[in-house]
């Protein structure tokens, strides 16, 4: 069996979701020939990183047509390598490439996969994480992988054969171009990549108090999240919303501060490894999904918590 993995990279680094995609390829068939496809610019430094994942071949498309991301050109490049499975990180790029590839191949598709049962059965969530659905695929299959769910692949030194891809462009591909990338705020941790998330809800009482959440997050090296209520109220940007109409996250530690736990919020975070809730309402539904909780006023609890964490970290 042959499995192609799209090794998405940005700024000369393999993205974490691409490494997770390698793990998924191993779970589909640990004995399969794994073939990487690497596209973009500044790919040299990545080449070394790739020597640890048991890849048999890597197809590299560097510069030229591949210099900046283009969903159609990238999908055609991946399609040009023949395989039984195509495993694509479920990032914003992968969510464009996966469906395109499926159309090109006229194949099966399993999207936003969170578990691999065997080579034909995949688990994904429907109704915003409230229900898990097992789908059975047949024949050639494209899989997109939800970021942040799978472990990183085990590393063993291995050599691969490097091949070069030539760009294929169709006329209509000229009609869309990525003209500018505005960098993320420096030091800001992306929700879907974070190991720890601290989220605030209506209990924070106003945007002017969110510095408490930010300080606690800063102390833990965590990303900041928010409930739908505070995003809809305009206190926080929608990019921070965790839940059914926001982001699905599953960090190692999720701290819900002043969040009651509406069903659509729980849908977005209940797969986190450890959930901690701080809420003054003992009856808040968030406590039902929590591993640990403190019933108390967050304006008293959070400062005490930060003091104690600092103490422990300094030991």
């Amino acid at each position: 069996m042959k499995i192609v993995i799209f090794l998405e990279s940005y700024n000369g680094k393999l993205v974490k979701a691409a490494k997770e995609a390698i793990s998924v390829a191993d779970k589909i068939d640990s004995g399969a020939e794994k073939i990487g496809v690497l596209l973009g610019t500044d790919l040299d430094s990545i080449a070394n990183d790739l020597k640890n994942y048991g890849l048999k071949e890597v197809y590299k498309g560097e510069g030229g047509e591949y210099a900046t991301y283009h969903s159609s050109i990238y999908a055609k490049a991946i399609k040009s390598v023949d395989a039984d499975y195509y495993v694509i990180p479920g990032t914003v790029w992968g969510r464009e490439i996966g469906p395109r590839l499926t159309v090109m191949l006229d194949s099966s598709f399993a999207g936003d996969v969170t578990e691999v049962l065997d080579s034909t059965k995949f688990v994904r969530s429907i109704h915003g994480n409230k229900v898990l659905s097992t789908v059975e695929v047949s024949g050639q299959t494209v899989v997109t992988v939800r970021p942040g769910v799978f472990d990183l692949p085990s590393e063993t030194p291995s050599e691969y054969e490097l091949k070069t891809l030539e760009g294929h462009k169709e006329d209509h591909d000229e009609n869309v171009s990525l003209v500018e990338v505005l960098a993320a705020e420096s030091g800001k941790i992306e929700l879907t990549e974070a190991d720890i998330i601290v989220s605030g809800g209506r209990g924070v009482k106003g945007p002017e108090n969110f510095h408490l959440i930010e300080e606690l997050a800063g102390l833990l090296g965590a990303a900041v999240g928010a409930s739908r209520a505070v995003v809809d109220a305009g206190w926080r940007p929608h990019s921070e919303q965790v839940g059914q109409t926001g982001k699905f996250v599953s960090p190692k530690l999720y701290m819900a501060v002043g969040i009651s736990g509406a069903i659509q919020h729980l849908a977005g975070m209940s797969t986190s490894d450890i959930i901690v809730a701080i809420n003054k309402d003992e009856e808040a539904p968030i406590f039902k999904v929590s591993d640990y909780g403190i019933v108390g006023d967050l304006f008293v609890v959070v400062p005490k918590l930060m003091e104690k964490i600092k103490e422990v970290k300094n030991q």
């Binding site: 969903s71 469906p99 659905s133 059975e136 171009s177 909780g293 403190i294 108390g296 104690k308 970290k313």
Partner: protein, 261 residues
């Protein structure tokens, strides 16, 4: 110019589901309230705003449903769409992702829009599949998950989207397909006179002959074989009472036992 907005009827996001006895799907009964998928509604609002700025724009909504979409269509027409096209067929609506895209493409090839708008995902199936797949089938320019429309006219769009923390800006020539993210706009509420007027707007429902012409493209390669609820957490440790003590216990648990910091 012609705009088509894809609109899917989905269960309300606050729905508490039950699972069928044979565990092959959730129960879809009368207790479920069907709404337009929230991301599709951002797409519809975007379409209405284009129409308000560009004279002569015709805005059509296209729905593939299974008899649960009439209210959703009526609301969309009341919000400002000019007409609706409905493929009402349970069998087609339950094709696999590629099948659904192929069915919709058949109709879009008839409608020949300059711009297709869809939500970035449907909150029920959560595939993020149909929009990008249609762009590939139709050979349209694609930008998905658009959160800002910076500029537009009859032939171009300049749009931005969030991409893992950074923002990407695209220039797009029509014909194009965009999918819409939360934050793009605030969908309007229909006004009462518009609700009345909407009843007279045209609704083109495919008849059996038209349906059978489409049905050949429906795929069945991917099957849902089982559904289940996610495993529930066992009751956690909830600290009440003295807050200093509670904080001590929590930090001790996170540091010594769970080793998260």
């Amino acid at each position: 110019m012609k705009i088509v907005v894809l609109l899917k009827a989905v269960p309300d996001t606050e729905t508490r589901f039950k699972i069928r006895e044979d565990e092959t799907d959730v129960v879809y009964d009368d207790s479920i309230e069907w709404i337009a998928s929230p991301y599709d509604e951002y797409g519809l609002e975007a379409g209405i705003q284009f129409k308000e700025k560009l004279d002569g724009t015709e805005l059509t909504i296209l729905t593939l449903g299974k008899g649960n979409e009439s209210q959703v269509i009526r609301k969309a027409l009341a919000m400002g769409a000019d007409k609706a096209s409905l493929i009402n067929n349970e069998d087609l609506a339950s094709s696999d992702p590629l099948g659904v895209a192929k069915v919709l493409a058949k109709e879009l090839e008839e409608l020949k829009p300059d711009l297709i708008i869809a939500g970035r995902l449907a909150t029920d199936s959560s595939d993020s599949f149909v929009g990008p797949a249609l762009a590939e089938i139709m050979k349209y320019s694609l930008v998905s998950e658009v959160s800002t429309i910076e500029n537009f006219d009859e032939s171009h769009l300049v749009v931005l989207r969030d991409a893992t923390g950074r923002k990407e800006k695209f220039e797009v020539k029509l014909p194009a397909l965009i999918t819409t993210d939360k934050g793009l706009n605030e969908p309007r509420y229909p006004k009462l006179p518009d609700i009345m007027k909407a009843k007279r707007k045209p609704l083109d429902e495919k008849d059996l002959a038209e349906l059978s012409a489409i049905s050949g493209v429906a795929n069945r390669k991917v099957k849902q074989v089982k559904v289940a609820f996610p495993p529930k957490k066992q009751g956690g440790e909830i600290f009440t009472g003295d807050l200093d003590e509670a904080v001590d216990k929590l930090v001790k648990a996170l540091h010594d036992k769970e080793k998260v910091f």
